[in-house]
């Protein structure tokens, strides 16, 4: 029986304009539509595959504001069994270090795990570090940026894909895995899945429930802080020409004019 925790995050839809709030430079969550991060759908898919290949249970874990419930329900409707939602006003503005501490506390509170599966990088912060940092706190191996994952008995093998190429990795369970963009095509929730998800248990936890020191989380206690934030002026459209058989020549003339060739 493989006990899998999948980490999911609700993020501003990349199709909408993403902003920081002008007051305290935190993510302006109201300005954009919020969705389950695409990479996390792939993490859920991989967890479900491992479960379906043997026996197991998939628990979804998310830290985020109340409306992150929508992202959690989506993961449940894909087929995850249950969920933990850490939501607390005091967590607003937490940085990456605080986030990792809270996620680790929630995983420990949930009891044992064999695998934690996350996305390799969230589309909002692009931290690309939560899974590794979590492995550090939990004291287990990290097998990250997976292109393929296989679990045999108590061994997990991963093909890690980065700019450096493919690295074959192996470790004993329990372990933390993160999945890369090319790992799988996530399934669509079925109607049955969507209906079933409404009845699946979602445990709501606060910072106090986790026994995390409130002085370690939230905007005022962050390990790093934003001093200034400003939108960059948007780019403007320049010249545009129709190709009348001389399009390539016109580009060269432009490049020469700009001293680019």
């Amino acid at each position: 029986m493989t006990n899998i925790v999948v980490l999911v995050k609700q993020v501003p839809d990349t199709y909408s304009e993403r902003k920081l709030s002008s007051g305290d430079h935190t993510l302006d969550r109201e300005s954009a539509d919020a969705v389950l991060d695409e990479i996390n759908e792939k993490a859920v898919e991989e967890a479900l595959k491992i479960k379906e290949a043997g026996e197991g249970e998939v628990t979804v874990l998310s830290m985020g504001p109340d409306r992150a419930t929508d992202a959690i329900r989506k993961a449940l409707s894909m087929g995850a069994d249950k969920a933990i939602h850490v939501s607390d006003e005091g967590l607003r503005g937490s940085d990456i270090v605080a986030t990792v501490k809270v996620l680790a506390a929630a995983i420990n509170k949930a009891g044992g795990f064999d695998l934690v599966i996350a996305g390799n990088e969230a589309s909002d912060g692009r931290g690309g570090a939560v899974p590794a940092m979590l492995a550090e706190v939990l004291g287990v191996p990290q097998l990250t940026h997976a292109r393929t994952v296989s679990v045999e008995g108590s061994t997990v093998k991963v093909d890690r894909e980065t700019d450096d190429g493919i690295t074959h990795l192996e470790a004993n369970l329990p372990a933390v895995v993160s999945v890369g963009e090319k790992i799988n095509e996530p399934r669509y929730p079925s109607f049955k899945g969507i209906m079933a998800a409404k009845k699946k248990p979602v445990e709501k936890l606060t910072v106090a429930d986790l026994g995390v020191d409130a002085g370690e989380v939230g905007l005022d206690n962050a390990w790093s802080s934003v001093l200034e934030a400003s939108p960059k002026p948007p780019r403007e459209a320049g010249q545009r020409v129709e190709d009348e058989g001389d399009g390539g020549t016109k580009v060269v003339e432009y490049l020469v004019g700009q001293k680019l060739v």
């Binding site: 990349t14 199709y15 304009e17 920081l20 695409e38 990479i39 940085d95 990456i96 990792v100 390799n120 589309s123 912060g125 931290g127 690309g128 570090a129 939560v130 590794a132 550090e136 004291g139 191996p141 990290q142 097998l143 940026h145 980065t162 700019d163 450096d164 190429g165 493919i166 690295t167 990795l169 192996e170 470790a171 004993n172 372990a175 963009e181 962050a222 390990w223 790093s224 934003v226 001093l227 200034e228 934030a229 939108p231 960059k232 780019r235 403007e236 459209a237 320049g238 010249q239 545009r240 190709d243 399009g247 390539g248 020549t249 580009v251 060269v252 432009y254 490049l255 680019l260 060739v261």
Partner: protein, 319 residues
């Protein structure tokens, strides 16, 4: 002057360009000490080049384990040195591995983490460019020794003389219950073209290219310009070009002097990876394509007519 630890990014003793950028950035904050973690014999190959970018010291952390476990040996080495040298900061490349090393180190030493910064200021604050370049952010670390990862290609490397005095660091034995073993490596075979994130010109093709074979048109133009080749996600997903060349939200962020987009519509997620380019040229047969909203020079036309003519004209100029 305070020491600043710089983790050397190398593949089997071949130093990556980003290391020189890190050494340059570190000089804003103090005196850079290069930290080499790898299999025995690595430091010997890299020392000279580190000296030429201002490394005052070279810490050598070599062991067989260092080359055969993922990420953790580098964290072990840096954590030991933070304890020993009380540096002003630790600077690491914001590569896939560097982000992981710096994140774990921040946890290990109880420090704040600034990731994917594009510049380091002498007062210890950093600049970040987020949401695909839509926002600029200035930040600082509030607790502990700042751990900073710097985006490759964002700082211009400049040379400086360094003594590169060698010092050995003892690495603790790896606990296999807490680390992943590397059982094999298939390095990317770099072609003759420049690295995507390092290139001063990038030529990218999208779904409009139509097939893997026809990507040759993109490659020929790139080669005439001495450029790197990029691709949109649609081109990658359609199997026209390998995934490591994807530009955008979930691919590489590039910021070259010149970006040429061919047969790319310019979806917001593609723009997120290239809109900070100095100059953008686009070719698309659809006059409504959103790429034209951000292009400095746009040609409405068929890329199979425009690109070959452009390639020839460039070649003719270079004679």
């Amino acid at each position: 002057m305070a020491e600043v630890l710089v983790l050397v990014d190398h593949v089997d003793g071949e130093v990556k360009k980003v290391t020189y950028e890190l050494l340059t950035a570190a000089r804003e904050l103090g005196e850079p000490s290069a930290v080499v973690v790898g299999s025995p014999g690595t430091a010997g190959k890299v020392k000279e080049s580190l000296a030429s970018y201002g490394a005052a010291k070279v810490y050598v952390a070599e062991s067989d384990d260092a080359g055969s476990y993922l990420v953790t040996p580098k964290v072990d080495a840096l954590a030991a040195l933070v304890e020993q040298a009380s540096p002003a900061a630790v600077v690491v490349a914001a590569s896939a591995e560097g982000k992981e090393v710096s994140g774990r180190l921040a946890i290990r030493i109880g420090s704040g983490l600034l990731y994917d910064v594009v510049d380091v200021n002498s007062d210890g604050t950093t600049e970040q460019s987020i949401f695909g370049g839509a926002f600029s952010v200035k930040a600082k670390v509030a607790k502990g020794t700042p751990v900073i990862s710097v985006r490759p290609g964002s700082v211009e490397a400049t040379q400086a003389d360094g003594a590169a005095a060698e010092e050995t660091v003892e690495l603790p034995a790896v606990d296999p219950a807490k680390a992943a073993k590397i059982t094999g490596i298939e390095p990317v075979v770099g072609g003759d073209r420049p690295e995507l994130t390092e290139a001063s010109i990038v030529v990218s093709g999208g779904r409009g290219v139509g097939s893997a074979e026809k990507f040759e048109v993109i490659e020929k133009l790139a080669d005439s310009l001495g450029a790197a080749v990029g691709a949109s996600r649609a081109a990658v997903d359609s199997g026209y070009y390998p995934a490591q060349f994807q530009v955008g939200q979930t691919g590489k962020t590039v910021s070259p002097q010149l970006y040429v987009a061919l047969g790319i519509s310019g979806a917001i997620q593609h723009r997120a990876g290239m809109q900070t380019s100095k100059t953008i040229v686009a070719v698309n047969k659809d006059p409504e394509a959103p790429i034209f909203e951000i292009a400095d020079f746009g040609v409405v036309g068929d890329l199979f007519n425009v690109a070959p003519q452009l390639t020839e004209a460039i070649a003719a100029r270079k004679g």
